[in-house]
């Protein structure tokens, strides 16, 4: 799920590690500690779903930014579809089973 959220965030625009971690931190159920987000970012980069570039931030140092690739967008769509199907199935099941 974290993968879905990271890809969704980055499909809106490039971001860097600390910003991503801070944004995701607001949603505890995602279990998005630094120690999961950073390794995930690295894998997504290896998979070709993300790419990195360096950019000087207006106020601060040169940072490594991540952005979503075409492959990343494709994967995002798949994950979203899977997630929606799962939510709908589980919701339906719980409703049915609690009768």
């Amino acid at each position: 799920m974290l993968e879905l959220c990271v890809l969704r965030l980055l499909s809106r625009g490039p971001s860097y590690g600390y910003e991503l971690v801070s944004t995701l931190d607001a949603y505890p159920m995602l279990a998005s500690g630094e120690n999961t987000v950073y390794p995930l970012l690295r894998r997504l980069r290896h998979d070709g779903a993300l790419e990195t570039f360096t950019r000087e931030s207006p106020s601060g140092p040169v940072r490594q930014y991540y952005r979503c690739t075409r492959e990343g967008e494709r994967r995002l769509k798949e994950l979203e579809r899977d997630w929606n199907a799962m939510v709908s199935d589980v919701t339906g099941f719980l409703k049915e089973a609690s009768r």
């Binding site: 860097y16 600390y18 505890p28 390794p39 690295r42 894998r43 494709r74 798949e78 899977d82």
Partner: protein, 183 residues
Amino acid sequence: MTSENPAAGRYLQRLERELAALAGRERADILREIEDHLADAQAAGRPLAEVLAALGPADALARAYAVELALNRPPGRLTRCSSTCDSSSTSRSGRFGVFVPARSRNRARRGESGEMGRRAPRKGRAPYFERGEASRSPSMVTPTSSAGRPSRTTNSSLKSSSPSTPKSVSVMGTRRYFAAVRW
């Protein structure tokens, strides 16, 4: 942007040692990213001790990288990880148990030679797995065995590894990590 703080320096050094099995460029990228993270967090006014605690022990972080890089799941398959983790893979893969990535298993199925994990393209994998394996009994790595305490594995904070029991921390860290992925 080098961290001048001794605690940050020590953490980065430890992380570098733990990542020693990775390719030099990979390792340098990771170190740079974590260093940037420390600098950004401090610039945002967070106390360094808190930031380091959130990152967790350097060895656990290194292992998380190793596992994530070994996973390499095909895209968009939410259920893929549970199939990778299922206990039936234990019999085939021996000591690597549930942590054998699908790709390596496929390679093994095709009959490519070499000891599991020893001849992976990213040389960094084997040591992390082996290190963890020594302290791990099969019942601890089988996902179903944790069913008795599901809420702990899914939702407990990844940040709160206890420093007093390093061995079980590494096992727990890995298992929690998987729980997070499967969720």
